[in-house]
Point group: D4
Chain length 212, copies 8
Amino acid sequence: GYAKIDNHRSLRNGVPEVIYCEGKSPEHIRGIVPRLAEHSANVLATRASEEVYQVIKEVYPACRYNKSARIVLVNPQPVVKKGSIVVAAAGTSDIPVAEEAAATAEVIGNNVKRIYDVGVAGIHRLLEYCEDLYTANVVVAVAGMEGALASVVGGLVSCPVIAVPTSIGYGTSFGGVAALLSMLNSCASGLSVVNIDNGFGAGYQASLINQL
Amino acid sequence: GYAKIDNHRSLRNGVPEVIYCEGKSPEHIRGIVPRLAEHSANVLATRASEEVYQVIKEVYPACRYNKSARIVLVNPQPVVKKGSIVVAAAGTSDIPVAEEAAATAEVIGNNVKRIYDVGVAGIHRLLEYCEDLYTANVVVAVAGMEGALASVVGGLVSCPVIAVPTSIGYGTSFGGVAALLSMLNSCASGLSVVNIDNGFGAGYQASLINQL
Amino acid sequence: GYAKIDNHRSLRNGVPEVIYCEGKSPEHIRGIVPRLAEHSANVLATRASEEVYQVIKEVYPACRYNKSARIVLVNPQPVVKKGSIVVAAAGTSDIPVAEEAAATAEVIGNNVKRIYDVGVAGIHRLLEYCEDLYTANVVVAVAGMEGALASVVGGLVSCPVIAVPTSIGYGTSFGGVAALLSMLNSCASGLSVVNIDNGFGAGYQASLINQL
Amino acid sequence: GYAKIDNHRSLRNGVPEVIYCEGKSPEHIRGIVPRLAEHSANVLATRASEEVYQVIKEVYPACRYNKSARIVLVNPQPVVKKGSIVVAAAGTSDIPVAEEAAATAEVIGNNVKRIYDVGVAGIHRLLEYCEDLYTANVVVAVAGMEGALASVVGGLVSCPVIAVPTSIGYGTSFGGVAALLSMLNSCASGLSVVNIDNGFGAGYQASLINQL
Amino acid sequence: GYAKIDNHRSLRNGVPEVIYCEGKSPEHIRGIVPRLAEHSANVLATRASEEVYQVIKEVYPACRYNKSARIVLVNPQPVVKKGSIVVAAAGTSDIPVAEEAAATAEVIGNNVKRIYDVGVAGIHRLLEYCEDLYTANVVVAVAGMEGALASVVGGLVSCPVIAVPTSIGYGTSFGGVAALLSMLNSCASGLSVVNIDNGFGAGYQASLINQL
Amino acid sequence: GYAKIDNHRSLRNGVPEVIYCEGKSPEHIRGIVPRLAEHSANVLATRASEEVYQVIKEVYPACRYNKSARIVLVNPQPVVKKGSIVVAAAGTSDIPVAEEAAATAEVIGNNVKRIYDVGVAGIHRLLEYCEDLYTANVVVAVAGMEGALASVVGGLVSCPVIAVPTSIGYGTSFGGVAALLSMLNSCASGLSVVNIDNGFGAGYQASLINQL
Amino acid sequence: GYAKIDNHRSLRNGVPEVIYCEGKSPEHIRGIVPRLAEHSANVLATRASEEVYQVIKEVYPACRYNKSARIVLVNPQPVVKKGSIVVAAAGTSDIPVAEEAAATAEVIGNNVKRIYDVGVAGIHRLLEYCEDLYTANVVVAVAGMEGALASVVGGLVSCPVIAVPTSIGYGTSFGGVAALLSMLNSCASGLSVVNIDNGFGAGYQASLINQL
Amino acid sequence: GYAKIDNHRSLRNGVPEVIYCEGKSPEHIRGIVPRLAEHSANVLATRASEEVYQVIKEVYPACRYNKSARIVLVNPQPVVKKGSIVVAAAGTSDIPVAEEAAATAEVIGNNVKRIYDVGVAGIHRLLEYCEDLYTANVVVAVAGMEGALASVVGGLVSCPVIAVPTSIGYGTSFGGVAALLSMLNSCASGLSVVNIDNGFGAGYQASLINQL
Ligand SMILES: Nc1ncnc2c1ncn2[C@@H]1O[C@H](COP(=O)(O)O)[C@@H](O)[C@H]1O
Ligand SMILES: Nc1ncnc2c1ncn2[C@@H]1O[C@H](COP(=O)(O)O)[C@@H](O)[C@H]1O
Ligand SMILES: Nc1ncnc2c1ncn2[C@@H]1O[C@H](COP(=O)(O)O)[C@@H](O)[C@H]1O
Ligand SMILES: Nc1ncnc2c1ncn2[C@@H]1O[C@H](COP(=O)(O)O)[C@@H](O)[C@H]1O
Ligand SMILES: [Mg+2]
Ligand SMILES: [Mg+2]
Ligand SMILES: [Mg+2]
Ligand SMILES: [Mg+2]
Ligand SMILES: [Mg+2]
Ligand SMILES: [Mg+2]
Ligand SMILES: [Mg+2]
Ligand SMILES: [Mg+2]
């Protein structure tokens, strides 16, 4: 029967409350943030601009802004960090998406190692981090343009890789579609893909995997 | 230095040897199968038609054909199965892809529970399996047409979900693109996606996760 | 002969006069509104921003603004409401489109029940409304992102379902295309689809069906 | 609770059992047809080629083949026909899809009037049927190539119109996409759309509407 | 040899000088207009906003702005008008493109009859103009959304029809692609198509045809 | 009134009866050909394979097969040829489409000059035909791959140009889409476009123009 | 081993340091420019607006702005120019991309000949430059809209041609996709293509070729 | 003048005569081969199946079949080989395209080094060939699926790289589009791209570059 559907598992599992701020009005944000933060610690407000941060701070002063991740952490509380997630990013323009993944994973209790600016056009930069990659439980690979980082990382490691295409690029990058297709067609095994720019989704799934 | 790149990790990790048979000539198959099976047990020949099976059996009689998964297992040896992977499929036409995932995962040492014909057009069919879904370490959700199964499963479970779009459908299914987009845009958390019809890739990544 | 084409049926059928305001200049709106409102009650001005509302109010004070539906009702008059239409929406961001459908249907004489925030990532939310869904004459299902709500609703009810994809989402949602394809490929029977964000069209067809 | 989900409503509602034959093997068809026909009259086997018909006749002689609709009616029983559905088709190549819609609707108890070869390149052909169109409860408009029939019909009638794009055409018809887009963007009100070539879906929804 | 290429034919043929203003800076416009107008009468500046008009008027006061066509006619001189071109437009939002066609054709010496707001959702509006359509040498059919006007006009007349898709619409109109595909796939004979919103191109080709 | 729609104008205008044979069964062809040929001379059966020709010859011996145009001319009668149409084709693979245009135009009374194998990769080949191009009333430009022939021709002539993209090419030619886009975006004036491979449509419109 | 990967070859090869400025914040630019210019002469800052130029000039006064190329040359030093590169551009709107190519090539030591406004709609303009084209080591062909310039140039010369599609155009130019497809499908030999608007990439590869 | 267009340069430049055999009938091939081979040595017949080879051998016995390149060399004569071209291919399925490039380049006088099966999923395989890559004048990088090989190679070498996407892959590889986009968006400098599967074009341009 219906009772088998367990509405309360998220509380038991430490799944965070998350607010996706893009396209939400200040009024909406003002209304929703205190309601959630009242009952939960470490509420994540993602895709939060400076303005959104100001709005949140007004109604809930106990909050912290991670500017590069565009995340406001509301009602921040210490968490125990476990295991090891590597977040690798190809270019400096991919860092906001990578930070969204990394910050999400850290807040929900994972050790995160960042490896940035390791695009495949200079493969030696990535290869210097082989030890970090070999010892991770899961790698999040973030890249725009041709998205080749995911395949190269997938070929190096034997843990699961979550690939995040970003909308960085121009012309035929088609807002991230070129990177997405590249990742979906990767000839490396052990790799799966999330939506373009979906750093949160990658960080969240990486956490589920790292904490198994 | 270059020596850091570890070419031998697959042997240590129990990663299987795999031959993707689509588009390969009988000669090619005849040449490659014995060479791999000589040194490895449980070699997987995927996308194998009946004809390919006959070709393999000739050159390597110690093999077993899983017709619905279109996989030939060459030099089959017993493996210890661990943990719990659920493979859920929406329609009966999606079963070959689901079986490719399930058979791959079983061969490399995972307990696999199959839940088939649970498309969302009759949601009660899926809900009957809530217990199985709640106790899995990872779920592989296989669906063509509108691919909504992945989102519904993702909403029910709190383990990682790997979504596999299939090419089943007609008209605007565009050979699996409709299902793929549906899965990439899922509003459920903890979900990532592999290429259309890539049952092998999903089963392989599910195994990496289940065995962490 | 030509006389068979009946130009006057809309007057007899209670079909409303409608102005689609997007892209119309204030001058255009100022010119057209009084002309229509003079001869008709309950003229609908859809896709009306606050500014458009101000423009209309100036030239025709007898009007009412439904902000969330972005509809101005000009020369509002009471209507008798019949039957039962359910408008279901997946996310809070889909509400403007859902309200466009609901407000349109109400103005032309239909009882409308709203069921909002019932996205399939938490299927229990939708299932709580089964009674409402079972007793509707027609359901309008509004969803962006992966658009799976339409399939799940279509599987639950045996009345006609009109699916409305919305442009809500990012990356591979492609401005509503992912949801549209999902709905066109639904494995549920009894479902048809309108253009992305076309709440008016869905509300209008739902009315035609509900009033048969 | 879960018990609210009513698995048996189809029996009460006269919804037919349907087998979609495309891509199903003879063995599969042989297995499924008698099982369904045992408990149900008027089972529909859609997308049935001559070969499929022969397979069905062998295992269930009480069946009838509608060749142009590509439908086998298994265990045919008389039904009472109600109301009025018009099925209009643009070209002679669109007739199989139109017949799938018409035959589906007739079998589940609807009066169906067929108006074929009324493409808009000779608008007078369609206008001769104005009386039939004006008196229908619902019109199914079937067209390939540019799909303009749906808009013209939608402008003539004030009942709901279900538009079915077909895959007829070449070059930029893109297998029905041109007609689909044309129909989704129709400037006529009261029109919704089903998947390319989905005559069954249109006939089925038309029946739900006609029988309200 | 090379001398066969006739660089001077445009002068002999009365082909106008044309400046496409979109994306040109005021400086560029200021530089180019007097240079062209010095040697040629009836120079056309297309896609000209109010601001562009002001810029032109400053440097070349002998000019006239057709606001709805977004055309500035520089150094206007009387022309003899010949033959008969009909420009038909489906909706009021299509008028700027239709006017671009009509104004272009008039300036280079053609009689132009405008038939606007004759979209196929109310086919009787178009049919009232049958006489005008039957007596034209060429018809320009301008429509956005589903673009069905072109097919219906093409079916009525036996002269050449030039179809112009416009970018009017939303969602799956894809900025005019739906109308373009509709027109390219028209089942009416005698019809060809220009780029989306290319009123100038249609008016220019219509003139070439009308003046043969 | 309706009587204004003139159903008989085609007879008066010498418009040919045309049968599009692609996808038509032999039975269908056998039924339709004699019926049309009985009342009309010079009936065109387009897209006719050798087999279709044999079928037609059986039921109507007075017919002639133009193999490269894939057209059967049924009940052939002499026609007076007027004016001048040039049909230019880029590659030898484009000739069937070019011949469809040329043969159509000839049959309905136009002088046609063929200029084949004049692709722009060797521009001198085209320039040798400048005199022919300069004296035409209308040019049909047929090209696959990158379709650049249309632009170059359009720049050379001052008569109307009808561009026909063909499906010749591979990879990113996308079955003629690359050539189509090239032609729609031509920077030459006086050019319009028909559907991919639509030689008939181009030849027919060229005739309408040439005979004005 | 890893040591074989030569991180220092760019210094030896005279490869320039390049900063892609689009989307970079003023802070970022301020930080990165002096760091690079300290060790390298002729640092290229591409896609640089006037504002970016001002920002650079503040932190590094020894710089020069090429406005039409949108390039700031930081720490400019004389270079010896070799060989011969022709940069040909179809329309005046394509000049910024052409200048990006030309300026890049000049800075890294190549003689560059510019041939602008030679679009194929007036082929005689291009043919006047045959001598320049015949004597080049490599030609960069820049064009938007239908991109036919690349094919015509490719047919004239026997040196390598690098084609650059630009985003200039409207409607079905799809931001440069029409030109890109045209170039990829060119029937001329010896031609390859870079991303839409990628003048830098073309100029850089042309330099590698010219300096072989 | 026209005389500047040099029709004879190919003879002087050693450019080969080439016949693209795909889609050509045996008659056509029989006609064209002897005519070309009479005046030219080393005529290339590309995309030649076994059957085409048999046809050619009949009419011109002095020919040699390169089966994996699908090239027949007609009237083979020794050529002096110069410089150094590397052809690198990612997977064994890409070899036919790579061989088309390599064989083309060899026939027209270039030293060619093949590096096959060096896909990036096992990056160490490619890195073993660093010396060969560093000493090439030009590299042709051939890859299907995600096409990442081109970027990695482009990052390693400082000579020009010509990237060839292949149609190898399934699902979202879209017949080579994924690889093509990956290559067009490469973050490596010095890279340009040819059409999907266009090994000939890459080998030909590589030769032009290598022989500068
Ligand atoms: N021609 C058709 N087109 C689309 N859907 C169909 C068609 N025929 C049957 N269906 C649907 O497919 C379901 C049966 O699919 P299956 O179980 O694979 O035979 C039915 O319940 C219908 O909803
Ligand atoms: N509105 C328009 N749409 C399309 N093409 C135009 C338009 N106006 C002018 N043109 C074309 O653009 C050319 C002028 O372009 P430009 O030299 O950039 O001003 C003219 O020769 C026309 O062929
Ligand atoms: N090759 C062709 N390509 C495009 N349309 C054609 C062709 N041949 C005939 N047609 C059109 O198709 C109509 C006949 O179609 P049908 O009635 O199906 O034989 C004719 O009236 C023409 O308008
Ligand atoms: N495999 C190939 N792929 C692409 N283009 C080719 C190929 N082989 C030959 N070509 C080109 O096609 C031309 C010959 O085409 P055709 O005259 O149709 O045989 C040659 O001049 C080459 O430019
Ligand atoms: Mg791996
Ligand atoms: Mg979940
Ligand atoms: Mg239902
Ligand atoms: Mg209507
Ligand atoms: Mg006509
Ligand atoms: Mg011209
Ligand atoms: Mg060349
Ligand atoms: Mg490089």
